[in-house]
Amino acid sequence: MDYATLLQVLDTTLRLATPLLLACLAGLYSERAGIFDIGLEGKMLAAAMSAGAVAALTGSAWAGLLAGIGASMLFALLHGIAAITFRGNQLISGVALNFLASGLTVLIAQALFQQGGRTPPLSGPARFNAITLPGAEALRDVPVVGPLYYEVISGHSILVYMAFLIVPLTWWILFRTRFGLRLRAVGENPAAVDTAGISVVGLRFAAVGITGILCGIAGAYMATALQAGFGREMTAGRGYIALAALIFAKWRPVAAMWACLLFGFFQALALRPDVVQAVVQVRVPVPLLDALPYMLTVLVLAGFVGKAIPPRAGGQPYVKER
């Protein structure tokens, strides 16, 4: 593999890692607060459809982004009501909302546009287009570093940079603010938080709300930046890969970024079987590359690559003393 091909693959990696990263960080807030969320997939899908539809109707990618966040928040709120208010089974609620999103997105897109459940193709300001970072053109001819900066780092949509900025922001919120401390506490020992006079329900709803916002950005990115419009089932299991990355990263923000980059790299490789074949000298079946993130996650879960211990109160509804 030559340098130019490597840069191409890395560029695709960044592009594909972004929705994973946003969804993964989304899951991080929720799970750190003790609410399991296997509904990341559904929230992303709902956001992608809303973003695609609103961007097509208004011609503004930003309006699409807002609509995406709104739709995702709505699903997050439903999950919160089921999981927090009515203390329902969080896993079942997530499964239900995924199905709901899967069906509703097609129904609504079909009713709005009659294009077989797709939203119309977006172009111009209705999409988040690539931006060239300062100095990229000038540095382009510098050997090694220049092309890396120009090809890989520069030339993405603003949402990609936003996603990577949210990583340190999340670290700071979780580990350096009072809100973050309480959020982590409510995921480990909600009774202690309650005893301290802080609302468990309030904190958990806040966490679920943040999950909604981040999944909304992830979905909007899918429909208005990565691709030009919404198509049915366009998230294609990314919500679950994000969940896998979250476990792989042991619920830590910076590690989550590396995990998502790794899984994004696998996805990029799956698009280029010719490159893989040239490197390993054996024909690797594409399905194997597709399955790699999932197999890695199972290995991590099995404790062969360091043990992943979830937040202690995860998945359990909090019942105040009766």
Binding site: I81, V95, A96, G117, Y240
Partner: protein, 367 residues
């Protein structure tokens, strides 16, 4: 707090949940500019209005009985097996390997062998998540989801690179030999008086019903079933009573995976007669809705499977005859899971309030 009477808990809670799901589905149809009444008519007509429609409804119901029972058995052991889809697809692989391996003399022999193959492959696919849950403490929900995706990738590989006959374009196995083809209900004496046109529902329906009885007997009439239920209710108490948690987790998941795998004799052997990509078509996930709706009881599962069979056939008819996309059935499925599974407490609290109202008026009258 007042508790609901037992009959209300068994009948009213699922019915009210279903009503909620139906009401919201109707609302969704109104929002997208369709008539719910019209849609319901098309569904009832297409799924229940003719023996032909029933043939499809029962065909879907057969698959859902298997996957519903699979989820039920795991639920009773306190395990949420979300991997029915992957287990069903592996079961399909088992069926295909068995059916293609020999020139089967008669379908009865082939059926027995294929059932074993399906159950074995399905169980094997559940075995790894079960082992990881029991021994290494990794969460069964996440591992079974991962195994669904791994199964899908594995089947793509097997169908494209291994089982696909040379010269065939689409990723599918060869057609099964004539001796491995199951009789449909229209081929069976007695049933053929009702089903005069060829229908997809086949002899597997009877196996599914038999399995419902077997699962009931297993759970409520055997020592193993008692251990499974005890373990599901309280792991600590079960351990104290000398029940081995590793053994119960693995056995329950093997049974669950085997049942999910067995649905493949219905769709792969009974209908498609070759292994196709994504053969289970989401039936593994519908098992979750069926088990929840059926209150985790085999009898309830059969009823819920019929309901979902109606929903699936009716939904397909909607896609054919109206402007309502076929995805409507996924919406209903999601709503049923939401109300019967996650918002269970809400429905219960509402019913409790209603019952309390009745009780107070009765008490007043008596006074």
């Amino acid at each position: 707090m007042d508790r609901l009477p037992r009959w209300a808990d068994i009948t009213l809670v699922p019915l009210v949940s279903l009503l909620f799901a139906a009401a919201i589905s109707a609302l969704v149809l109104l929002v997208i500019g369709q008539s719910p009444v019209e849609a319901f008519k098309v569904m009832v007509d297409g799924a229940l209005g003719s023996p032909y429609g029933w043939g499809y409804t029962l065909y879907y119901a057969t698959s859902f009985i298997f996957t519903g029972l699979a989820v039920t058995v795991a639920f009773h052991a306190g395990l949420f097996n979300i991997g029915g889809e992957g287990q069903a697809q592996l079961g399909g692989l088992g069926v295909a390997l068995v059916c293609l391996s020999l020139p089967w003399p008669h379908w009865t022999v082939a059926l027995i062998a294929a059932t074993m193959g399906a159950a074995l492959f399905g169980a094997a696919w559940a075995a790894i998540p079960a082992y990881l849950q029991a021994k290494r403490g990794s969460h069964i929900v996440i591992t079974t989801i991962m195994f669904n995706y791994i199964a899908a990738a594995l089947l793509v590989y097997v169908l494209v690179d291994v089982l696909r006959p040379t010269g065939q374009m689409d990723p599918a196995s060869a057609r099964f030999p004539a001796g491995a083809q199951l009789p449909a209900l229209n081929d069976i004496p007695g049933f053929n008086l009702i089903f005069q046109r060829p229908v997809p529902a086949n002899v597997t329906l009877l196996i599914a019903l038999a399995m419902a009885v077997v699962v009931w007997a297993l759970l409520w009439r055997t020592r193993l079933g008692y251990q499974i239920r005890a373990f599901g209710k309280s792991e600590a108490a079960a351990k104290y009573a000398g029940i081995n948690p590793v053994r119960i987790t693995i056995i329950a998941m093997l049974i669950s995976g085997g049942l999910a795998g067995m649905m493949s004799i219905n769709n792969v052997m009974g209908e498609a007669e070759r292994l196709l990509q994504n053969s289970s078509e989401g039936a593994g996930f519908i098992g979750i809705a069926v088990a929840l709706m059926g209150r985790n009881h085999p009898f309830g599962v059969v009823l819920a499977a019929l309901l979902f069979g109606f929903l699936y056939q009716g939904g397909a008819e909607l896609g054919l005859w109206t402007n309502i996309p076929i995805e409507m059935r996924i919406v209903v499925q999601g709503l049923v899971i939401l109300f019967t599974g996650a918002l269970d407490m809400m429905v219960r609290m509402m019913l409790e309030r209603v019952f309390r109202l009745f009780r107070t008026t009765k008490a007043l009258r008596a006074a």
